[in-house]
Amino acid sequence: MNNNYENLINDVLKTGNGDYKEIRLEENKSSRITYSGKVRENISINSRLGGSVRAMANGGWGFSSFNDIYQAPQKMKETLTLAKYNSNELFEIEKNNPIRTKISPVLKKDPRKIKLSEKINILDHYKDLILSQEDIESCDIIYADTDRKVVFADSKGNNIEQNFIHVVLRIAAYSSDGNEMLQSGFSIGSLGDYGIIENLDSEILDCAKKAKDLIDAPKVEGKETTVVLDQILAGVFVHEAFGHLSEADNVYENERLKEILTLGKKFGNKDLNITDGAKIPNLRGSYEFDDEGTPATKTPLIREGILTGRLHSNETANKMSEEATGNARAISFAFPPIVRMSNTIIENGKDKKEDIIKDTKDGLYVKNWYGGMTEHEMFTFSSAETYRIENGEIKETLRPVKLSGNLFTTLKNINGIADDLLINQGGGCGKGGQMPLPVSNGSPHIRINKCLVSNG
């Protein structure tokens, strides 16, 4: 980033008193290409520059964000005034060894070096390929790449500059049964690798075929049933069903929730192991330092069915007397960091996918995703593909379903974890108005007994 920022940062951190102060400055450039049906709908390049300052006083926060970064020292002054309205229990931001570092982006095939014309050519080709398939009426394609440079500095002497390059692609094919539009789609993403956009012809043909197969597919009646989830949907499941409640900002000031989510409590069966970690390298949720300058870690959340850890910011870790995990993240300079997941996975089990299916008398095989949501202990997530399982065999295609569950029962109802872990990087997570935050989710195939489903 621009060297002039160094002086600006020093000025800001010297401004006023306060127990703890920090600043983030960000340069962001994103390219976006979208198609809807035959037409290229939008190509745009957006550049943003901005910053934010945060200060702690009287046990609470003041926060200001701005596009005009030269206002930063003035904003710090205001923020200190805002912070003084608080009157909470005091806490310490513990950072002992200040770090000064500049981290290069993870890069495999740099999307910034690919000409716009080349990106358009490949997307044009995918669009033509989808639309040339039988029974396909329309398609949506959304491509985006982002170059985000962030510098973080605080009054404890940390100064950390990081650079993230993200690439995402969502493709959906539409068919129609004469009454309803039906869609099949997939989402992929990477940290620093444009290569994932290339050579997708077979995935696209498969997607178009799935959209076509939906035309004659029957709807599912709402009921409780056994479901086998593929790796992608199981990844969404672990994010929604468990991930959000492991975020300590839900818990740290809520005495009842602290009791319910006491470490050491049983949440699943012996073969269930769940981990979150930005330290797992080269995924979309990977980073070296979070947005409070805390080094990333890898946190075991569930080991052999027992709750063993949770995700923290500096504040939640301090207030719960646990270790900070480096999970305080902000979607951009305009927002304060809050506790978020990074890369969340269900670890491999010992079962074979084939055996899990073979062993299922009556149920649904659900794959791929549209979305998912969590509200406290309840969650829902939706499949993009659904097949009937009958006497251990995968049968006909059904319309997509929505699945719903409850933290306290659904995790215990997992009774089959395969050994074929796969990580999906096509998703983004929303919380507190900050969306979509880059995350990845992964899991092997899993089976859940007694899951509530209805036609999606």
Binding site: S65, S87, N254, F379
Partner: protein, 436 residues
């Protein structure tokens, strides 16, 4: 010459038509979490976007850093890949004077806002000492300028205030959460807040009683909020010019057809004073008007901006909305559904066994174009012998918005604001499925 003038000069020289949209806003927020003041914050933002047309092809780019060289270089690169379009940026016309700004919001002091939040949280804690409350205020003021090569030049000033309060009670493994909010252009007075808090307390006491879900096929009543989340949200997707112009909406070409129950009248009204969703001009500078979407069950019109209107051989309905960093697209202003003739109490008192659906989890995450919806009822009540007796749990609701609105039972006399941009009644229908 400042940078934006240089950019304008470049656009004049190189394109047939151009448009510049600039926006600046200031916002401050106060939030309480778990009964305590958590954060006081402010946000300043600014940015601009340019659209330019040459030979019926359009280029768009946006920036928040006002770096002339960089912007022009992006714009030049993008203009090699323009998007076909057949529109003329509008000339300036006289608009209505709907009130969308009030400087009263600037007079609210942080001390007063903090005190108000504290007082109301304490009021809840008095009745429910084990509750954990979140609450907040957010106040914003924004100024925008839109100008184009047809000599249109519109300055617009808007204000916004929002209040929310939520309360969580945990009993065993049950986490109950009830949420109330209000949005306005000018003020949220203490009387409004008192009303919200007393409703919240009333609901908290009923909702702590968990009861069995009624049987399949029972009557379903949606609260105004539940009505939006289940039926209207997927329905409105089909009214958008974006989907109509591409033949993705099942309403395509069906103007004038009776597709819904004749009790249903829904319009999009941008001229409601003090509503945050109101607008005198849309974000392309077109003068806004009230658009009737459904008139006594008959599909009247969709909502279009310039581009989707031209692609559908229709005029813009004055519905363009945008943020600085996105292209304009058709958006709703205030969605208003006409009231019925029976009170909600009378609707409920006639029901032997049924369900009142208020909040949904996971609605809007399926294939909305089909009108299908499916969600977990995160807040819903069981009605038994004409009375609300308790809350249902682990229950899903699904159906199709078109089917559910084709034949409805009743619409209530009372209406309520939803998300500050809708005025909706309670609605009683049978054509939805409950499963648990």
């Amino acid at each position: 010459m400042d940078n934006i003038e240089k950019i304008e000069k470049y656009l004049v020289k190189n394109f047939d038509q151009h448009e510049i949209f600039e926006e600046r806003s200031n916002q401050r927020s106060i939030s309480f979490e778990s009964n305590n003041l958590k954060e006081v914050s402010s946000n300043q933002s600014q940015g601009f976007a340019a659209r330019a047309i040459k030979d019926n092809q359009i280029t768009f780019s946006s920036s928040s850093n006002y770096d002339y060289e960089n912007f022009i270089s992006n714009f030049k690169e993008l203009s090699n890949y323009p998007i076909p379009i057949d529109i003329r940026f509008p000339e300036q016309k006289d608009s209505k004077n709907t009130i969308i700004y009030d400087d009263e919001i600037l007079s609210y002091k942080n001390e007063y806002l903090i005190e108000t939040l504290k007082k109301n949280i304490n009021k809840i804690l008095l009745s429910f000492p084990n509750a954990s409350c979140d609450a907040g205020f957010s106040l914003a003021e924004s100024n925008s300028n839109l100008r184009n090569s047809s000599k249109l030049n519109i300055n617009s000033q808007e204000s916004f205030i929002s209040f929310y309060i939520s309360s969580q009670i945990i009993n065993g493994n049950d986490m109950l959460n009830i949420y109330k909010y209000k949005n306005s252009v000018n003020a949220i007075n203490e009387k409004d807040i008192d009303l919200m808090v007393s409703e919240l307390c009333k609901e908290l006491s009923i909702a702590q009683n968990i009861v069995d879900t009624p049987k399949k096929g029972c009557p379903v009543i949606f609260t105004p909020h539940g009505l939006y989340q289940t039926l209207l949200s997927p329905l409105l997707v089909s009214f958008s010019g974006t989907n109509l112009s591409k033949n993705l909406s099942s309403l395509c070409g069906k103007e004038g057809e009776k597709l819904f129950d004749e009790k249903i009248i829904i319009s999009d009204d941008p001229h409601i004073d003090y509503s945050p969703a109101s607008r005198n001009y849309d974000d392309e500078g077109v003068v806004t008007k009230k658009n009737i979407l459904i008139n006594k069950g008959i599909f009247d019109s969709g909502l279009y901006d310039l581009k989707t209107g031209s692609e559908s051989s229709k005029k813009s309905t004055g519905s363009a909305g945008r943020s600085v960093h996105s292209n304009p697209s058709p958006t709703t202003s205030n969605i208003v559904m006409d009231e019925g003739q029976i009170t909600i109490n009378n609707i409920i008192s006639d029901i032997d066994e049924g369900i009142l659906v208020d909040h949904l989890l996971g609605a809007g995450q399926g294939n909305e174009l089909s009108g299908n919806f499916s969600a977990n009822i995160s807040l819903g009540y069981k009605i038994e012998k004409g009375e609300i007796i308790g809350r249902v749990k682990n229950t899903m609701i699904s159906g199709n918005a078109f089917d559910a609105l084709r034949d409805i039972e009743e619409i209530s006399l009372e209406r309520d604001q939803v998300y500050g941009s809708m005025m909706l009644p309670y609605l009683h229908t049978k054509n939805v499925e409950i499963s648990s």
